[in-house]
Symmetry: C2
Subunit: 230 residues, 2 copies
DNA sequence: CCCAATTGCGTAAAAATAACGCATTTTATT
DNA sequence: AATAAAATGCGTTATTTTTACGCAATTGGG
């Protein structure tokens, strides 16, 4: 049963792909974690991920594991760092290519399937298995950097949203507060937003306008990048 | 002779670390390449790099290979992407963690040692082995991004340099032209430069001032980051 | 019924960026 | 040798961008 069929002249490490999945519930940023059912770190929480097959890239591996463990399909994952500390896995030599993805919360209902997947707010994340604490730290930093150069709201917000929700998203990720009116002016001037519905005639002041992303502008900024000075 | 001693239940990829080494000669950016002496891609140029040992991280591997192949010691390498296309190496399944480093040209004299290492200006780089063309492309992009947030001149310029040399460095990396006087004002206002020598009394207009980096400020910016709006 | 909170829309001050002037001195050119 | 072109240091002035707020209307909570 325990055949060791694949042999090499020199020792080879195992390679895994892990996924840091970010979501947004309108107020705070969340990450998707899986509770480990086996040793090592049994019972501890960790990122979805697993061993890379010999005929797939790390991104493909990340997407496959993600679907297997959380049911989430076709997420757009992006690698951000490879962790290769010699003792990061107590069993054997494993290096992991860490990825992250942004998804709408509605697409993954925690506590799905077999795996016990659950969303955690950033300030509720427990101590994680392996070196996943460090991986999370770096993923968060990368997310903060990215939000300043690329629009990312589309992946995290519902189709239609209010300006306040968009601002909450930026504030949650960057951990800062903006002046509401300046944020409003800036976003409108960028031209990235389109009014979702013509504001109804009977709409009163406290009924906020609904926006959606201007797909054309959004794609343009995705490619050319922009510079959000916050 | 050809023992295959290390056996696993599932196939494992080989893992390598490659290094994109950037240098600057006062006018243009250069990369350090090695001409391959063996198949595959014999005779083609490629980045220094090689197989990761089981008890080292990818960064350690990158530094070790770099020293073995170019004599360059203790370079500060930083990984930027892991390339895992299934067919990127025609022999076997190999994924590579690509790193880059910035060094002073004087520290590596091309055509050293056994290996035939040579510096190439960016616009003279030939078609490279494996997927190294793509690796270079991504390394260049990363360098462009980094230069806007961190001072990097210290690694690339000689100890003492003129404002024009510094500007040439930025222009070479970003492939843009700046107004000389605005660049001058900006750099001085940042406070990152210190005058290397008190300008000699007999110095005439066309004898440029010499600067060095203000180590304190330089380190501060390294950590906190800055924002160069170009 | 009153008060705090929310929303849309502006405007003025402050700061940063971009554009360019100019005298002087070298080096290159005719 | 005379002249033109390029390099350097040090400014100044527009232009644009960012920041800091004002204000009225409306709503929900107490």
């Amino acid at each position: 049963m325990n055949e060791q069929k694949f042999c090499y002249k020199y020792p080879h490490p195992s390679v895994t792909a892990d996924c840091v999945i970010f979501g947004f519930d309108g107020v705070s940023i969340k990450v998707l974690l899986i509770q480990r059912g086996i040793e090592p770190f049994k019972g501890k929480w960790a990122f979805p991920g697993g061993f890379m097959k010999i005929d797939e890239t790390t991104e493909e591996c990340a997407r496959r594991e993600l679907e297997e463990e959380t049911g989430l399909k076709n997420a757009s994952v992006e690698q951000f760092h490879t962790f290769s500390d010699v003792s990061r896995d107590p069993r054997e030599r494993v290096i992991t290519v860490a990825h992250y993805a942004l998804v709408r919360l509605s697409e993954v209902k925690g506590g799905d399937d077999a795996a016990s997947a659950r969303w955690f707010a950033m300030d509720e994340v427990p101590s994680l298995a392996f070196d996943h604490d460090r991986i999370l730290q770096m993923a968060v930093n990368r997310l903060k950097e990215r939000i300043c150069f690329e629009p990312i709201g589309f992946e995290l917000l519902p189709e239609v949203f209010t300006m306040t929700e968009l601002q909450n998203l930026y504030e949650a990720i960057l951990e800062v507060k903006f002046d509401r009116r300046n944020f409003y002016n800036k976003m409108l001037k960028l031209g990235i937003l389109a009014e979702a519905e013509p504001r109804p005639a009977n709409a009163s002041r406290r009924t906020p306008s609904k926006y959606r992303f201007n797909a054309e502008k959004y794609t343009e900024f995705k490619q050319k990048g922009f510079r959000l000075e916050f």
